[in-house]
């Protein structure tokens, strides 16, 4: 595939935050804290998740084998798919839902599903969280203030 990029795609608005804090563009839900899971790959509950255990099971997914239960899940993109609308409510009812979904680029289904299920969700970030937040860090998501902040960092040798 020959690919010529003629101009940069749109960028999220500039950060309005200090060190250790990420700004988000849109948010829903209550403020929550939890352990971060930071993915380099997008997410769909149908494509990637075992909706009976809460484990990412798609072979080769960057988070294969990782549980999303009670986590603050950072995903750069949404995959697919219409399933999240009902599936988020289902996994919440089964007690295996994350505490929050943090998307760089979501799609409407992720928003519809999270709001229906009452799961905190945000979209758009002031900078790539992978440079700031690491899997295992304890973070706080505050939809009212549109911020995500690090409460404490994972210590070396701890966690994933």
């Amino acid at each position: 595939m020959r690919r010529h990029r003629l101009q940069r795609s749109s960028e999220v608005s500039a950060a309005r935050t200090g060190n250790g804090t990420l700004a988000v563009e849109r948010a829903f839900g209550v403020a929550v804290e939890g352990e971060a899971v930071v993915s380099e790959e997008g997410f769909s509950p149908r494509y990637d998740l075992d909706r009976w255990s809460g484990l990412i099971t798609k072979p080769g997914h960057k988070l294969e084998g990782v549980s999303i239960k009670d986590k603050i899940c950072f995903f750069p993109t949404a995959k697919g798919g219409i399933a999240a609308g009902w599936a988020f409510n289902d996994i919440r009812s089964k007690g295996i839902a994350p505490r929050a979904f943090i998307f760089g680029i979501a799609n409407p289904v992720m928003i519809q599903g999270a709001i229906f299920a009452g799961i905190t969700i945000t979209e758009g970030w002031s900078r790539d969280p992978r440079g700031l937040i690491h899997t295992g860090d304890w973070v706080r998501v505050d939809p009212q203030r549109m911020t995500i902040s690090i409460v404490r960092r994972i210590r070396l040798g701890e966690g994933e």
């Binding site: 595939m1 494509y47 949404a78 009902w86 409407p108 229906f116």
Partner: protein, 413 residues
């Protein structure tokens, strides 16, 4: 948000508790999406089955029925997870089968037409240019926006149901002109001879542009794509890229030219897809342990023309001993396929025809895979090859003729 008098009445509960609850949910979504108002919709297509809804979803539907919920526009259902004629043989859970029946009963009490199809646009309802609808299943949405020039966002189950009860949806995304313009161009410089090739194009473009609002403009194709070819292209774009719309110059109604499709803007990128790109897609699949015992024609369901093609390919042959081959379609097409003799040819060949389902949605699919010892799944659908991963299949995209050969020979190439 700007509300009409009718919407204020709904919010005040004058139309009942169910539409009030639905509109409140829609308004919460509207806050997130930045929608300023609602638009009336003429048609809703919703996903609703026990595999994805679970017990919590079924409880929700029962609550809705108890509240007297009633659809105010035509509402159809997407493919579901159980074909009641085959569920016992396929090892699906009896308790879940019973819940699925209960769930269907709830939908019907609300006035939902349970068509159980993900190809409503080929068999049930074809919206016109500019018509606002609220459809779920991403393949239906991208087809509506692109091929018909209708207007819909991805409307997942609860959102589609809310639109069904209020008769409206939020005005944002693909309901607005600004999001319908092409954002990048794709020159098709490859012969596309099979449905799998069209899906492979969707994979190449979608995988590299995972953005709901990325709208590719295809051009340079010498022939006239068929409805099934556009179906597989759109389904793959929506699956790999989560895209909601594409243009195809000279084919889709909002793309008389590249310039018109781009709406006067410059493309962010220009891509060219060659035969070598397609070859790389087919070469990219691991054959795993060489298991060739599962071949699936599904996701989206088969059209009548696809059923005829399969009947031609399987006529006089038989699925290899120990292998399984499935084709899924909806009830209307299966009835026609029976009348025309296609179904008989396929069933004599050992192909299992499933009605009203898509293979990847099937209840109990992971235990089914384990019980049958399936490792690989071969299909001519780029979408299903992408979507079924959570069930831990190793998936392989092959052209339709190759799929039939693999099913009948038990040999994977």
């Amino acid at each position: 948000m700007e509300l009409t008098a009718e919407e204020r009445d709904i919010l005040a509960g004058k139309r009942g508790e169910a539409p009030k609850r639905a509109l409140e949910y829609q308004m919460e979504l509207g806050k997130f999406c930045g929608a300023r108002r609602f638009v009336p919709v003429t048609n809703v297509h919703m996903m609703g089955d026990i595999e994805v809804m679970g017990d919590a979803g079924l409880r929700y539907l029962k609550d809705e029925v108890a509240l007297g919920a009633r659809c105010v526009v035509g509402v159809t259902t997407n493919a579901r997870c159980i074909d009641f004629a085959h569920c016992a043989r396929m090892g699906q859970d009896a308790a879940e089968v019973a819940k699925e029946r209960e769930l269907i009963g709830c939908l019907r009490q609300m006035g939902v037409i349970t068509t159980d199809t993900c190809i409503n646009y080929q068999t049930v309802y074809q919206p016109h240019l500019g018509e606002h609808v609220a459809w779920g299943d991403t393949g239906t949405v991208i087809y509506a926006n692109s091929v018909f020039g209708a207007r819909s966002n991805f409307e997942s189950g609860p959102a589609a149901l809310a639109a069904a009860l209020t008769g409206r949806t939020l005005e944002y995304g693909f309901h607005l002109d600004e999001h319908r313009r092409g954002t990048f161009t794709v020159r098709l410089d490859a012969p596309l001879t099979d449905l799998a090739d069209w899906g492979a194009v969707g994979k190449i473009v979608g995988e590299s542009h995972q953005d709901y609002y990325a709208v590719p403009v295809f051009h340079g194709y010498a022939g006239t794509p068929t409805a099934d070819e556009l179906k597989h292209l759109g389904a793959a774009l929506a699956s790999y890229g989560s895209m909601g719309m594409f243009h195809f110059v000279g084919v889709t109604p909002e793309a008389p030219s590249v310039e018109a499709a781009l709406g006067g803007r410059k493309p962010t990128e220009t891509l060219t897809i060659s035969a070598a790109d397609l070859a790389r897609v087919y070469a990219s699949y691991s054959l795993g342990d060489g298991d060739a015992r599962l071949v699936v024609f599904s996701g989206p369901q088969q059209s009548l023309l696809e059923m005829r093609r399969l009947a031609e390919l399987f006529d006089g042959r038989h699925v290899h001993e120990g292998s399984s081959c499935f084709a899924t379609t909806n009830g209307a097409i299966l009835a026609q396929a029976r009348k025309l003799g296609y179904a008989d040819v396929l069933e004599r060949a050992g192909v299992t025809l499933l009605e009203g389902v898509c293979f990847y949605i099937l209840q109990n699919l992971t235990p089914m895979r384990i019980a049958n010892g399936w490792c690989n799944m071969v299909s001519n659908s780029a979408k299903i090859v992408n979507i079924i991963g959570a069930h831990r299949f190793n998936t392989i995209l092959r052209r339709t003729t190759q799929c039939a050969d693999i099913a009948c020979s038990g040999a994977l190439k």
